[in-house]
Symmetry: C2
């Protein structure tokens, strides 16, 4: 007898349907089928990979209406956001199609033979890349399209030549099943094996752990909490044969707002920031969870007044905003618990209206001193939802200590760095050591899919800060270099495409 | 009171001198000094890094005679080999100087702003790389120049903008101290802080573990045994803030010799292979420790006779060779123990002459069936020294099972792949999945320093098979990407060079 998992309407909590959890023998079969499909797929030309990715994008686009409607019921993210997310998802699929077609996965570094004794002389050498094998892909709750069944991890893994086994997220089970049906239809239409993209479901952690432990799995890709990602990364490292585990984990995304900037543009920055804090009910990995204000800046002296004014402006900008329902009841309860921890650690409310747990949360703003923040590790934990914590640093040195206490983040935003004063230079140096992406304007929500994007920062924001889960470089996670020495002509003639 | 570590003459076992083990507070101070030097060094221009690396190469070259003489006493590797290794080491230093000067560490991926809504529209984004910070560098026993104080790890880390703390290898303590003095002299001449390159010594594992655990250390680079490397990699992963640990571990480097090739060129291949097995007394990470012969090939039918003949040729080629003394007495004893394990697991001697443990070992050749090899995990372990194990596979499928049982290797050599028969294609596919470097001619000893080199293969041969410890790509290990969004012009103008 298999366990049944329920899908819930995110707004009402009503059960929308049920899906069977994947039993151990079924998981084993799915992983074996992925492995069986690997040989042919790793040898596939770029045009074939591109054709699959484009067909998947087309199919997603063609079923937009029913998929968005279903996603909206399961996530409450709203049609506007979900349509935009679907656009982003098809954009990613097509972008990785182009990347595969351009031959990026088959790039070769060629060192023709150099006669003579080493170290200058050497045989003919070519550096190719080979795909790692089946990738275990853990969907995120908060991006039911873009970080789920057909999200960036799947698109980049397929483009790299790797099969994928998706762990569906329990917060959108029916949507995952619908998208997976679409995938299977496209695979059949293209004459590709069903096992090239597999999917498993599970409620607790057992199914995910079994997936990472399966001998056929060659890499993991994960988007979710620090706790969950760290546990799976440890499983990946403890295997008889360890595998890379690319985990994009929790992040509090500090915004460091220098007083001169706030003095000049405080009201508009407060409005922009309030929008970012509450966007998608704050359920973004790049949600700005920490706002660092410097009360004694080098040039301006005592800047408490302008900072106080900004906190007031921000509270006022947040007050009228009405976040939509959260993705799940569990996350809704976790938000209340998270902001309660802020108060327990001595934070002062700047905006705090209780809301019943069966209704969407209200925006929350709290404030602590840098001393308090550094003294209480609980204040550094990501609180997923529409809340943000203001930290008042006495001076630049304390602001840097705040970053050090956090450790690492996907993003950090630095407002007011237009002129390279000594203070600004110190801050820029510290932020570049601290985050995967440093913004000098705007807000961190919104992660562009570009060649230069870096979505992955130092611990605790990711398990592999040298990799990115968004943007063109995401492909490189699933390739490994191999040097061919004195390779025969028939092999060289494949131009970097594995056999 | 500090513990004293002894340096031994590798040929006689006599004590050459003593060096104090690094005490915990001294280790802490050395790591802090490395961290203190990081800020300026990460911001250094390529020309400055190149000037340091070239001055280090010049200094090594200028002190060639005394350094080679000292190295020879501590390692018994002989003047010819050690002079060649010193040439390789200065070549590496100069190559990474060129790489830094060309601006490779400062490469920028530029995505100018694209107006419009996402996903196509996006802000201005630049992808830079930042150095990770102080690198803990674990020297290898078997390359007292090229994988030691001024070896490839140090050269690539310095070129990347990272300080280095060397863990000196206990098998060449006096040489390490001499090279380290030279480093300090060059640093002083260039006006650079002494802490940019630190060094620690220790006998057991305590000093190495303390080094990897130190909060100032940002990455590890290691060349040595699977056991030692795996233990340090686990320490790196278990830190409060995990760091990447690039371990190049044990490897048995299979040679798969197809019968047609042996029939045509058996005698010369046997001579070449015998030379590779005994080169440097077999003390290479690319030493060919496994020779896989296929007794029933697809085209040729029963090929046992030609394989038998090759094993005889190889034994005869090995018999007269006289390996020099091993690096240490411990390694000498480990070699005898390793080949004894072969016999315990049922291997048949094809060449085995006992030698007293205070004398150099004699070449060893043993043979097992593939069934035996697959059944006995002990047979897959690296035996460091001038011995090799022949595995007789009944057919191609068994040869592939042998590779699967081993798991991964730095190299695999495939003789006889000139024509792309089905059998050859299967083998090439399997070897590319199995190793970091696949050779189609020659022998795996000798690792060229080129752009295409890949020295790092699937587990258990390395902890990070996506990285290489030899060749130009070694630099990338010590860099992490950072995306700058809407960066001010003064920062963009630095052209990718960190502040």
């Amino acid at each position: 007898m298999s366990t049944l998992l329920s899908s819930f309407d995110a707004r009402t909590g009503h059960v929308l349907g049920q899906v069977a959890a994947t039993a151990p023998d079924a998981l084993d079969a799915i992983c074996r089928e992925a492995a069986a499909s690997f040989g042919a797929w790793q040898a596939s030309p770029g045009a074939q990979r591109a054709a699959l990715l484009r067909a998947l994008a087309d199919a997603l686009g063609a079923e937009r209406e029913p998929l968005v409607a279903l996603a909206d019921r399961e996530t409450a993210l709203g049609a506007v956001r979900l349509n935009g997310e679907l656009d982003r998802t098809t954009f990613q699929l097509r972008r990785f199609a182009d990347i595969a077609e351009r031959g990026v996965p088959f790039a070769v570094v060629d060192d023709p033979a150099v006669p003579g004794a080493p170290p200058a002389g050497h045989p003919s050498m070519q550096r190719w890349s080979v795909p790692l094998g089946p990738v275990a892909m853990f969907s995120a709750s908060n991006f039911p399209f873009a970080f789920s069944v057909l999200g960036g991890d799947t698109a980049s893994a397929l483009a790299a030549g790797c099969p994928v086994v998706v762990k569906a997220h329990s917060a959108h089970l029916l949507l995952s099943r619908a998208v997976y049906s679409l995938v299977q239809r496209v695979l059949a239409e293209q004459g590709l094996p069903a096992g090239l993209v597999g999917m498993v479901q599970g409620g607790g952690k057992e199914v995910g752990v079994a997936l990472v432990r399966h001998p056929a799995i060659a890499a993991g890709a994960f988007t979710g909490s620090t706790q969950g990602g760290a546990a799976l990364a440890a499983e990946a490292a403890a295997r008889p044969r360890p595998i890379p585990f690319y985990g994009e984990l929790g992040s509090i995304n500090p915004v460091i707002a220098l007083p001169a900037e706030l003095g000049a543009h405080g009201a508009s920055l407060a409005a922009t920031l309030a929008g970012s804090i509450t966007l998608g009910c704050g359920q973004f990995c790049t949600n700005p969870g920490l706002i660092v204000l410097v009360d004694h800046a080098a040039a301006e002296g005592d800047t408490r007044a302008v900072n106080d004014a900004f906190v007031d402006q921000l509270a006022e900008a947040l007050r009228p905003l009405e976040p939509h329902a959260m993705l799940t009841r569990t996350m809704r309860a976790a938000f209340d618990a998270g902001v309660a921890h802020w108060a327990e650690a001595g934070a002062e409310w700047r905006l705090h209206a209780e809301a019943p747990v069966d209704q969407p949360p209200r925006p929350v703003l709290a404030q602590v001193s840098a001393d308090q923040f550094i003294a209480h590790p609980a204040l550094r934990e990501e609180v997923f939802g529409p809340g943000s914590l203001v930290v008042r640093a006495a001076n630049l040195a304390q602001a840097l200590q705040v970053l050090q206490a956090v450790g690492g983040s996907l993003t950090v935003t630095l407002w007011g760095a237009q002129q390279p004063t000594d203070e600004v230079r110190s801050l820029v140096r510290a932020t570049m050591a601290f985050a995967g992406r440093v913004l000098f304007a705007g807000v961190p929500t919104g992660v562009a899919v570009t060649a230069a994007q870096q979505h992955g920062g130092p611990w605790p924001s990711s398990t592999r800060p040298e990799s990115t889960s968004v943007g063109d470089a995401a492909l490189a996670r699933f390739l490994r270099p191999v040097c061919l020495q004195d390779a025969p002509q028939w092999l060289v003639g494949r131009g970097g495409r594995p056999l």
